[in-house]
Protein backbone atom coordinates (compact mmCIF):
# COMPACT_ATOMS: atom_id res chain seq x y z
CA UNK A 1 0.00 0.00 0.00
CA UNK A 2 2.80 2.39 -0.76
CA UNK A 3 1.35 5.24 -2.67
CA UNK A 4 3.81 7.99 -3.44
CA UNK A 5 0.86 10.15 -4.43
CA UNK A 6 -0.04 10.41 -0.75
CA UNK A 7 3.21 11.95 0.32
CA UNK A 8 2.43 15.53 -0.72
CA UNK A 9 -0.86 15.21 1.14
CA UNK A 10 0.99 14.20 4.27
CA UNK A 11 3.43 17.05 3.91
CA UNK A 12 0.66 19.54 3.44
CA UNK A 13 -1.13 18.29 6.54
CA UNK A 14 2.00 18.33 8.59
CA UNK A 15 2.66 21.83 7.39
CA UNK A 16 -0.89 22.90 8.27
CA UNK A 17 -0.56 21.34 11.70
CA UNK A 18 2.70 23.14 12.36
CA UNK A 19 1.24 26.47 11.24
CA UNK A 20 -1.79 25.98 13.48
CA UNK A 21 0.40 25.19 16.48
CA UNK A 22 2.75 28.11 15.90
CA UNK A 23 -0.21 30.44 15.51
CA UNK A 24 -1.66 29.15 18.76
CA UNK A 25 1.60 29.63 20.63
CA UNK A 26 2.13 33.08 19.16
CA UNK A 27 -1.39 34.14 20.05
CA UNK A 28 -1.15 32.80 23.58
CA UNK A 29 2.08 34.74 24.00
CA UNK A 30 0.46 37.85 22.56
CA UNK A 31 -2.57 37.61 24.83
CA UNK A 32 -0.27 37.23 27.82
CA UNK A 33 1.49 40.48 27.00
CA UNK A 34 -1.81 42.23 26.25
CA UNK A 35 -2.87 41.76 29.88
CA UNK A 36 -0.15 44.00 31.26
CA UNK A 37 -2.39 45.11 34.10
CA UNK A 38 -2.34 41.93 36.09
CA UNK A 39 -0.43 40.94 39.18
CA UNK A 40 0.37 37.59 40.75
CA UNK A 41 -0.42 37.35 44.46
CA UNK A 42 1.01 34.39 46.35
CA UNK A 43 -1.37 33.78 49.20
CA UNK A 44 -2.57 31.10 51.54
CA UNK A 45 -5.20 28.46 51.06
CA UNK A 46 -7.27 29.95 53.90
CA UNK A 47 -7.90 33.23 52.08
CA UNK A 48 -8.95 31.41 48.91
CA UNK A 49 -10.88 28.46 50.35
CA UNK A 50 -12.84 30.73 52.69
CA UNK A 51 -14.14 32.63 49.66
CA UNK A 52 -12.63 35.97 50.76
CA UNK A 53 -10.86 36.60 47.45
CA UNK A 54 -14.01 35.84 45.46
CA UNK A 55 -15.63 38.64 47.44
CA UNK A 56 -12.96 41.37 47.48
CA UNK A 57 -10.99 40.90 44.24
CA UNK A 58 -13.83 41.83 41.85
CA UNK A 59 -14.24 45.10 43.81
CA UNK A 60 -10.55 45.91 43.39
CA UNK A 61 -10.51 44.95 39.71
CA UNK A 62 -13.59 47.06 38.97
CA UNK A 63 -12.00 50.04 40.67
CA UNK A 64 -8.52 49.80 39.12
CA UNK A 65 -8.74 47.55 36.07
CA UNK A 66 -5.95 45.44 37.54
CA UNK A 67 -6.53 41.71 37.35
CA UNK A 68 -5.31 39.81 40.42
CA UNK A 69 -4.07 36.27 39.85
CA UNK A 70 -4.01 34.39 43.11
CA UNK A 71 -1.74 31.41 43.57
CA UNK A 72 -2.90 29.87 46.85
CA UNK A 73 -0.21 27.96 48.71
CA UNK A 74 0.91 27.45 52.27
CA UNK A 75 2.61 30.49 53.83
CA UNK A 76 6.06 28.87 53.54
CA UNK A 77 5.59 28.12 49.85
CA UNK A 78 4.06 31.53 49.15
CA UNK A 79 7.03 33.32 50.72
CA UNK A 80 9.32 31.08 48.67
CA UNK A 81 7.51 32.09 45.48
CA UNK A 82 8.15 35.70 46.50
CA UNK A 83 11.83 34.98 47.18
CA UNK A 84 12.16 33.50 43.69
CA UNK A 85 10.42 36.50 42.13
CA UNK A 86 7.48 34.43 40.93
CA UNK A 87 4.92 36.62 42.67
CA UNK A 88 4.48 40.40 42.86
CA UNK A 89 2.77 40.44 46.24
CA UNK A 90 2.65 37.95 49.12
CA UNK A 91 -0.39 37.89 51.41
CA UNK A 92 0.22 35.44 54.24
CA UNK A 93 -0.06 34.81 57.98
CA UNK A 94 3.17 34.06 59.84
CA UNK A 95 4.45 37.34 61.22
CA UNK A 96 7.95 36.25 62.25
CA UNK A 97 8.65 34.77 58.82
CA UNK A 98 7.18 37.80 57.07
CA UNK A 99 9.45 40.12 59.02
CA UNK A 100 12.43 37.94 58.19
CA UNK A 101 11.38 38.06 54.51
CA UNK A 102 11.50 41.88 54.58
CA UNK A 103 14.71 42.00 56.63
CA UNK A 104 16.49 39.80 54.11
CA UNK A 105 15.53 42.24 51.38
CA UNK A 106 13.02 40.05 49.56
CA UNK A 107 10.12 42.28 50.47
CA UNK A 108 9.73 46.05 50.57
CA UNK A 109 7.54 46.57 53.65
CA UNK A 110 5.05 44.56 55.65
CA UNK A 111 1.53 45.84 56.37
CA UNK A 112 -1.02 44.38 58.77
CA UNK A 113 -4.26 43.72 56.89
CA UNK A 114 -6.66 41.70 59.00
CA UNK A 115 -6.92 38.94 61.53
CA UNK A 116 -9.10 36.04 62.38
CA UNK A 117 -8.46 33.24 64.80
CA UNK A 118 -7.56 29.60 64.91
CA UNK A 119 -9.97 27.08 66.35
CA UNK A 120 -9.29 23.59 67.60
CA UNK A 121 -11.59 21.19 65.79
CA UNK A 122 -12.38 17.76 67.16
CA UNK A 123 -14.86 14.89 67.00
CA UNK A 124 -18.18 15.23 68.85
CA UNK A 125 -17.19 12.23 71.00
CA UNK A 126 -14.29 14.34 72.37
CA UNK A 127 -11.96 11.50 73.49
CA UNK A 128 -9.55 13.97 75.13
CA UNK A 129 -12.36 15.56 77.15
CA UNK A 130 -11.42 19.13 76.30
CA UNK A 131 -14.62 20.57 74.84
CA UNK A 132 -15.21 24.14 75.95
CA UNK A 133 -11.77 24.51 77.52
CA UNK A 134 -10.65 28.15 77.51
CA UNK A 135 -6.97 27.13 77.59
CA UNK A 136 -5.53 25.81 74.32
CA UNK A 137 -2.27 24.72 75.96
CA UNK A 138 -4.07 22.58 78.55
CA UNK A 139 -6.25 21.13 75.80
CA UNK A 140 -3.22 20.09 73.74
CA UNK A 141 -1.53 18.57 76.79
CA UNK A 142 -4.66 16.54 77.36
CA UNK A 143 -4.70 15.33 73.73
CA UNK A 144 -1.10 14.23 74.08
CA UNK A 145 -1.74 12.47 77.40
CA UNK A 146 -4.75 10.58 76.04
CA UNK A 147 -2.93 9.95 72.73
CA UNK A 148 -6.06 11.12 70.90
CA UNK A 149 -5.69 11.25 67.11
CA UNK A 150 -4.39 14.65 65.94
CA UNK A 151 -3.88 15.72 62.32
CA UNK A 152 -1.08 18.22 61.64
CA UNK A 153 -0.69 20.17 58.39
CA UNK A 154 3.05 19.46 58.42
CA UNK A 155 3.59 21.78 55.42
CA UNK A 156 5.27 24.88 56.90
CA UNK A 157 2.07 26.84 56.35
CA UNK A 158 1.06 29.65 58.67
CA UNK A 159 -1.35 27.32 60.43
CA UNK A 160 1.33 24.66 60.83
CA UNK A 161 3.77 27.19 62.29
CA UNK A 162 1.04 28.40 64.68
CA UNK A 163 0.30 24.82 65.68
CA UNK A 164 3.97 24.16 66.49
CA UNK A 165 4.03 27.33 68.60
CA UNK A 166 0.98 26.14 70.56
CA UNK A 167 2.56 22.72 71.27
CA UNK A 168 5.58 24.58 72.57
CA UNK A 169 3.34 26.71 74.79
CA UNK A 170 1.81 23.46 76.06
CA UNK A 171 5.27 22.21 76.98
CA UNK A 172 5.10 19.32 74.53
CA UNK A 173 8.17 18.65 72.39
CA UNK A 174 6.08 17.63 69.40
CA UNK A 175 9.09 17.16 67.10
CA UNK A 176 10.20 14.35 69.40
CA UNK A 177 6.78 12.69 69.35
CA UNK A 178 7.00 9.81 66.94
CA UNK A 179 3.74 8.15 67.80
CA UNK A 180 0.86 7.14 65.54
CA UNK A 181 -1.68 9.45 67.20
CA UNK A 182 0.13 12.50 65.75
CA UNK A 183 -0.30 12.47 61.97
CA UNK A 184 1.65 14.93 59.83
CA UNK A 185 -0.01 14.91 56.42
CA UNK A 186 1.97 17.61 54.58
CA UNK A 187 -1.09 19.04 52.84
CA UNK A 188 -3.38 22.06 52.78
CA UNK A 189 -6.06 23.05 55.31
CA UNK A 190 -8.89 21.42 53.37
CA UNK A 191 -7.03 18.13 53.04
CA UNK A 192 -6.22 18.21 56.75
CA UNK A 193 -9.90 18.77 57.61
CA UNK A 194 -10.94 15.96 55.25
CA UNK A 195 -8.43 13.66 56.94
CA UNK A 196 -9.55 14.63 60.44
CA UNK A 197 -13.17 14.15 59.39
CA UNK A 198 -12.43 10.65 58.12
CA UNK A 199 -10.44 9.66 61.23
CA UNK A 200 -12.38 11.55 63.90
CA UNK A 201 -9.19 13.34 64.84
CA UNK A 202 -8.40 16.74 66.36
CA UNK A 203 -7.00 19.39 64.02
CA UNK A 204 -6.08 23.07 64.25
CA UNK A 205 -7.80 25.19 61.61
CA UNK A 206 -8.22 28.85 60.85
CA UNK A 207 -11.83 29.80 61.52
CA UNK A 208 -12.51 31.01 57.99
CA UNK A 209 -11.63 27.74 56.28
CA UNK A 210 -13.59 25.82 58.90
CA UNK A 211 -16.72 27.95 58.36
CA UNK A 212 -16.54 27.47 54.59
CA UNK A 213 -15.72 23.74 54.86
CA UNK A 214 -18.51 21.38 53.85
CA UNK A 215 -17.38 17.82 54.64
CA UNK A 216 -17.51 18.14 58.43
CA UNK A 217 -18.80 14.71 59.37
CA UNK A 218 -18.60 14.37 63.18
CA UNK A 219 -16.31 17.37 63.62
CA UNK A 220 -17.05 20.52 65.58
CA UNK A 221 -15.19 23.36 67.31
CA UNK A 222 -13.89 22.18 70.70
CA UNK A 223 -11.60 25.03 71.77
CA UNK A 224 -11.81 28.68 70.75
CA UNK A 225 -11.29 32.14 72.15
CA UNK A 226 -7.85 31.72 73.76
CA UNK A 227 -5.85 34.82 72.85
CA UNK A 228 -2.97 32.61 71.77
CA UNK A 229 -5.20 31.53 68.87
CA UNK A 230 -4.97 34.99 67.28
CA UNK A 231 -4.10 34.83 63.56
CA UNK A 232 -2.70 37.97 61.93
CA UNK A 233 -2.47 38.38 58.14
CA UNK A 234 0.10 40.64 56.50
CA UNK A 235 0.79 41.79 52.96
CA UNK A 236 4.19 42.55 51.41
CA UNK A 237 5.31 43.84 48.01
CA UNK A 238 8.12 41.70 46.62
CA UNK A 239 11.24 43.83 46.29
CA UNK A 240 11.63 45.08 42.69
CA UNK A 241 15.26 45.91 43.43
CA UNK A 242 15.79 42.19 43.84
CA UNK A 243 13.56 41.04 41.00
CA UNK A 244 13.11 43.69 38.28
CA UNK A 245 10.23 41.65 36.81
CA UNK A 246 8.05 42.52 39.83
CA UNK A 247 5.11 44.71 38.85
CA UNK A 248 5.72 47.16 41.65
CA UNK A 249 3.24 49.86 40.67
CA UNK A 250 0.07 47.74 40.34
CA UNK A 251 1.27 45.53 43.20
CA UNK A 252 1.57 48.52 45.53
CA UNK A 253 -1.84 49.75 44.39
CA UNK A 254 -3.31 46.42 45.49
CA UNK A 255 -1.65 46.73 48.89
CA UNK A 256 -2.75 50.37 49.24
CA UNK A 257 -6.32 49.34 48.41
CA UNK A 258 -6.31 46.44 50.90
CA UNK A 259 -5.34 48.73 53.76
CA UNK A 260 -7.49 51.65 52.59
CA UNK A 261 -10.86 52.27 54.29
CA UNK A 262 -12.58 50.88 51.19
CA UNK A 263 -10.57 47.65 51.15
CA UNK A 264 -10.85 47.24 54.90
CA UNK A 265 -14.61 47.64 54.70
CA UNK A 266 -14.83 45.03 51.93
CA UNK A 267 -12.89 42.56 54.11
CA UNK A 268 -15.08 43.26 57.13
CA UNK A 269 -18.26 42.82 55.14
CA UNK A 270 -17.43 39.31 54.00
CA UNK A 271 -19.41 36.71 55.91
CA UNK A 272 -20.79 33.21 55.65
CA UNK A 273 -24.32 32.84 57.02
CA UNK A 274 -23.96 36.14 58.84
CA UNK A 275 -20.72 35.15 60.52
CA UNK A 276 -17.84 37.53 59.85
CA UNK A 277 -14.67 35.64 58.81
CA UNK A 278 -11.91 38.25 58.83
CA UNK A 279 -11.50 41.36 60.97
CA UNK A 280 -9.70 44.25 59.25
CA UNK A 281 -7.02 45.87 61.40
CA UNK A 282 -4.72 47.81 59.09
CA UNK A 283 -3.13 50.86 60.62
CA UNK A 284 -4.90 53.83 59.06
CA UNK A 285 -2.64 56.57 57.80
CA UNK A 286 -3.56 60.01 59.07
CA UNK A 287 -3.61 62.40 56.19
Amino acid sequence: MIAEMELPVLNRRLFTAIVVILTFLASSGASASAQEQSIVVASTTSTRDSGLFDHILPLFTTRTGIEVRVVAQGTGQALDAGRRGDADVVFVHAREQEEKFVEQGFGVKRFDVMYNDFVLIGPKGDPAGIKGSPDIALALTSIQRKKAAFVSRGDKSGTHIAELGLWKAAGVDIAAVREPWYKEIGQGMGAALNTASAMDAYVLSDRATWLAFKNRGELEIVVEGDKRLFNQYGVILVNPARHPSVKAEPGQRFIDWLISPEGQQAIGEYNIDGQQLFFPNAEQKRS
Partner: protein, 230 residues
Protein backbone atom coordinates in the same frame (compact mmCIF):
# COMPACT_ATOMS: atom_id res chain seq x y z
CA UNK B 1 -17.91 28.19 41.08
CA UNK B 2 -21.37 29.02 42.34
CA UNK B 3 -22.29 27.98 45.86
CA UNK B 4 -24.70 25.22 46.62
CA UNK B 5 -25.00 23.85 43.11
CA UNK B 6 -24.16 20.35 42.07
CA UNK B 7 -22.25 19.50 38.93
CA UNK B 8 -25.35 18.52 36.96
CA UNK B 9 -27.04 21.82 37.67
CA UNK B 10 -23.86 23.54 36.51
CA UNK B 11 -23.97 21.68 33.20
CA UNK B 12 -27.69 22.18 32.74
CA UNK B 13 -27.41 25.92 33.37
CA UNK B 14 -24.38 26.21 31.07
CA UNK B 15 -22.38 27.74 33.92
CA UNK B 16 -19.93 30.20 32.34
CA UNK B 17 -17.15 29.36 34.79
CA UNK B 18 -17.50 25.65 34.13
CA UNK B 19 -17.47 26.19 30.36
CA UNK B 20 -14.32 28.32 30.49
CA UNK B 21 -12.61 25.71 32.69
CA UNK B 22 -13.53 22.93 30.27
CA UNK B 23 -12.35 25.03 27.33
CA UNK B 24 -9.02 25.76 29.00
CA UNK B 25 -8.50 22.09 29.87
CA UNK B 26 -9.16 20.98 26.31
CA UNK B 27 -7.06 23.75 24.73
CA UNK B 28 -4.06 23.06 26.92
CA UNK B 29 -4.26 19.30 26.53
CA UNK B 30 -4.75 19.36 22.77
CA UNK B 31 -1.96 21.93 22.31
CA UNK B 32 0.36 19.76 24.42
CA UNK B 33 -0.48 16.67 22.37
CA UNK B 34 0.04 18.62 19.13
CA UNK B 35 3.46 19.90 20.23
CA UNK B 36 4.44 16.44 21.45
CA UNK B 37 3.28 14.89 18.17
CA UNK B 38 5.26 17.32 16.01
CA UNK B 39 8.41 16.33 17.89
CA UNK B 40 7.52 12.78 18.90
CA UNK B 41 6.38 11.34 15.56
CA UNK B 42 9.60 12.13 13.64
CA UNK B 43 11.69 11.26 16.70
CA UNK B 44 10.00 7.87 17.05
CA UNK B 45 10.40 7.21 13.33
CA UNK B 46 14.09 8.13 13.44
CA UNK B 47 14.65 5.82 16.39
CA UNK B 48 12.94 3.04 14.47
CA UNK B 49 14.82 3.50 11.20
CA UNK B 50 18.33 4.47 12.20
CA UNK B 51 21.12 2.53 13.84
CA UNK B 52 23.74 4.34 15.88
CA UNK B 53 25.80 3.64 18.99
CA UNK B 54 23.71 4.14 22.12
CA UNK B 55 20.43 3.64 20.27
CA UNK B 56 19.30 0.83 22.57
CA UNK B 57 19.95 2.99 25.59
CA UNK B 58 17.94 5.81 24.03
CA UNK B 59 15.04 3.46 23.24
CA UNK B 60 15.02 2.22 26.85
CA UNK B 61 15.17 5.84 28.03
CA UNK B 62 12.21 6.94 25.89
CA UNK B 63 10.20 3.86 26.92
CA UNK B 64 11.02 4.45 30.56
CA UNK B 65 10.04 8.12 30.36
CA UNK B 66 6.50 7.04 29.50
CA UNK B 67 6.26 6.66 33.26
CA UNK B 68 7.78 10.04 34.16
CA UNK B 69 6.35 11.13 37.51
CA UNK B 70 4.21 14.21 36.74
CA UNK B 71 5.20 15.94 39.96
CA UNK B 72 8.89 15.70 39.00
CA UNK B 73 8.19 17.10 35.53
CA UNK B 74 6.15 19.87 37.16
CA UNK B 75 8.90 20.75 39.59
CA UNK B 76 11.55 20.71 36.86
CA UNK B 77 9.53 22.99 34.59
CA UNK B 78 8.76 25.21 37.61
CA UNK B 79 12.45 25.66 38.38
CA UNK B 80 13.27 26.27 34.70
CA UNK B 81 10.51 28.87 34.19
CA UNK B 82 10.78 30.53 37.61
CA UNK B 83 11.98 34.13 37.52
CA UNK B 84 15.09 32.87 39.29
CA UNK B 85 15.49 30.03 36.78
CA UNK B 86 17.31 29.92 33.41
CA UNK B 87 14.15 30.68 31.39
CA UNK B 88 12.74 33.16 33.91
CA UNK B 89 13.06 36.12 31.56
CA UNK B 90 10.12 34.88 29.48
CA UNK B 91 7.75 35.22 32.44
CA UNK B 92 5.93 32.00 31.58
CA UNK B 93 5.43 30.57 35.07
CA UNK B 94 1.78 30.50 36.20
CA UNK B 95 0.51 30.90 32.61
CA UNK B 96 -1.27 28.44 30.29
CA UNK B 97 1.89 28.32 28.12
CA UNK B 98 3.81 26.82 31.05
CA UNK B 99 1.12 24.17 31.41
CA UNK B 100 1.38 23.29 27.70
CA UNK B 101 5.16 22.94 28.00
CA UNK B 102 4.93 20.69 31.07
CA UNK B 103 2.24 18.48 29.59
CA UNK B 104 4.03 18.24 26.25
CA UNK B 105 7.07 16.90 28.13
CA UNK B 106 4.86 14.27 29.78
CA UNK B 107 3.22 13.25 26.52
CA UNK B 108 6.30 13.32 24.28
CA UNK B 109 7.83 10.01 25.50
CA UNK B 110 4.49 8.23 25.09
CA UNK B 111 4.07 9.35 21.48
CA UNK B 112 7.74 8.81 20.61
CA UNK B 113 7.89 5.34 22.15
CA UNK B 114 4.65 4.09 20.61
CA UNK B 115 5.60 5.61 17.24
CA UNK B 116 8.97 3.87 17.32
CA UNK B 117 7.34 0.51 17.99
CA UNK B 118 4.72 0.98 15.28
CA UNK B 119 7.17 2.19 12.65
CA UNK B 120 9.69 -0.52 13.46
CA UNK B 121 7.04 -3.20 12.93
CA UNK B 122 5.88 -1.64 9.68
CA UNK B 123 9.43 -1.17 8.45
CA UNK B 124 10.02 -4.94 8.55
CA UNK B 125 7.09 -5.29 6.19
CA UNK B 126 8.05 -2.41 3.86
CA UNK B 127 11.82 -2.57 3.87
CA UNK B 128 12.39 -4.53 0.65
CA UNK B 129 9.85 -2.60 -1.34
CA UNK B 130 11.01 0.85 -0.25
CA UNK B 131 14.66 -0.08 -0.79
CA UNK B 132 13.87 -1.42 -4.26
CA UNK B 133 12.05 1.77 -5.15
CA UNK B 134 15.08 3.78 -4.06
CA UNK B 135 13.12 5.91 -1.58
CA UNK B 136 15.49 8.02 0.52
CA UNK B 137 15.31 8.36 4.33
CA UNK B 138 12.94 11.39 4.41
CA UNK B 139 10.58 9.62 2.01
CA UNK B 140 10.71 6.46 4.09
CA UNK B 141 9.83 8.32 7.27
CA UNK B 142 6.93 10.08 5.56
CA UNK B 143 5.58 6.90 3.96
CA UNK B 144 5.81 4.85 7.14
CA UNK B 145 4.21 7.57 9.27
CA UNK B 146 1.40 8.01 6.77
CA UNK B 147 0.68 4.31 6.38
CA UNK B 148 0.61 3.75 10.11
CA UNK B 149 -1.50 6.83 10.79
CA UNK B 150 -4.36 4.90 12.37
CA UNK B 151 -2.08 3.28 14.94
CA UNK B 152 -0.42 6.63 15.54
CA UNK B 153 -3.79 8.18 16.35
CA UNK B 154 -4.05 5.64 19.14
CA UNK B 155 -0.59 6.70 20.34
CA UNK B 156 -1.76 10.31 20.40
CA UNK B 157 -4.93 9.33 22.25
CA UNK B 158 -2.79 7.61 24.87
CA UNK B 159 -0.88 10.88 25.23
CA UNK B 160 -4.12 12.85 25.37
CA UNK B 161 -5.43 10.59 28.13
CA UNK B 162 -2.29 11.09 30.15
CA UNK B 163 -2.41 14.87 29.80
CA UNK B 164 -6.14 15.26 30.39
CA UNK B 165 -6.11 13.18 33.57
CA UNK B 166 -3.06 14.84 35.04
CA UNK B 167 -3.16 17.22 38.01
CA UNK B 168 0.32 17.37 39.60
CA UNK B 169 2.24 19.24 36.88
CA UNK B 170 -0.48 21.72 35.94
CA UNK B 171 -1.06 22.56 39.61
CA UNK B 172 2.64 23.33 40.14
CA UNK B 173 3.42 25.27 36.95
CA UNK B 174 -0.04 26.82 36.42
CA UNK B 175 -0.75 27.78 40.02
CA UNK B 176 -4.48 26.95 39.72
CA UNK B 177 -5.35 30.64 39.21
CA UNK B 178 -9.07 31.19 38.93
CA UNK B 179 -10.18 32.14 35.43
CA UNK B 180 -6.65 31.86 34.07
CA UNK B 181 -4.93 28.54 34.77
CA UNK B 182 -7.65 26.54 36.52
CA UNK B 183 -8.41 23.29 34.72
CA UNK B 184 -10.86 20.46 35.31
CA UNK B 185 -8.40 18.43 37.34
CA UNK B 186 -7.20 21.31 39.51
CA UNK B 187 -10.82 22.35 40.10
CA UNK B 188 -11.60 18.83 41.28
CA UNK B 189 -8.61 18.94 43.64
CA UNK B 190 -9.72 22.36 44.90
CA UNK B 191 -13.34 21.37 45.53
CA UNK B 192 -12.08 18.26 47.35
CA UNK B 193 -9.96 20.45 49.61
CA UNK B 194 -12.99 22.63 50.31
CA UNK B 195 -14.81 19.50 51.42
CA UNK B 196 -17.39 19.77 48.64
CA UNK B 197 -17.05 16.13 47.66
CA UNK B 198 -20.30 15.83 45.65
CA UNK B 199 -19.32 18.76 43.39
CA UNK B 200 -15.78 17.33 43.02
CA UNK B 201 -17.21 13.95 42.09
CA UNK B 202 -19.64 15.48 39.61
CA UNK B 203 -16.85 17.42 37.91
CA UNK B 204 -14.87 14.16 37.78
CA UNK B 205 -17.76 12.53 35.94
CA UNK B 206 -17.81 15.42 33.44
CA UNK B 207 -14.07 15.02 32.84
CA UNK B 208 -14.41 11.29 32.23
CA UNK B 209 -17.28 12.00 29.86
CA UNK B 210 -15.14 14.47 27.89
CA UNK B 211 -12.26 12.01 27.60
CA UNK B 212 -14.67 9.33 26.36
CA UNK B 213 -16.19 11.80 23.87
CA UNK B 214 -12.77 12.66 22.42
CA UNK B 215 -11.92 8.98 22.10
CA UNK B 216 -15.26 8.29 20.45
CA UNK B 217 -14.62 11.11 17.98
CA UNK B 218 -11.18 9.70 17.17
CA UNK B 219 -12.68 6.26 16.71
CA UNK B 220 -15.35 7.64 14.41
CA UNK B 221 -12.71 9.47 12.39
CA UNK B 222 -10.75 6.27 12.04
CA UNK B 223 -13.72 4.23 10.86
CA UNK B 224 -14.71 6.98 8.43
CA UNK B 225 -11.25 7.36 6.89
CA UNK B 226 -10.66 3.60 6.72
CA UNK B 227 -13.82 3.33 4.67
CA UNK B 228 -12.55 6.05 2.36
CA UNK B 229 -9.23 4.31 1.90
CA UNK B 230 -10.86 0.92 1.28
Amino acid sequence: MSEGLNAWQLIASGDATLISIVRLSLTITLAAVAVAAVVGLPLGALLALTRFPGRSALVVLVNGFMGLPPVVVGLTVYLLLSRSGPLGAFGLLFTPAAMVIAQALLVLPIIAALTRQTIEDLWREYRDELTAMGVGPPGRVATLLWDSRFSLITAMLAGFGRAAAEVGTVMIVGGNIEGFTRTMTTTIALETSKGDLPLAMGLGAILIGLILAINAAAWGLRVWSEQRVA
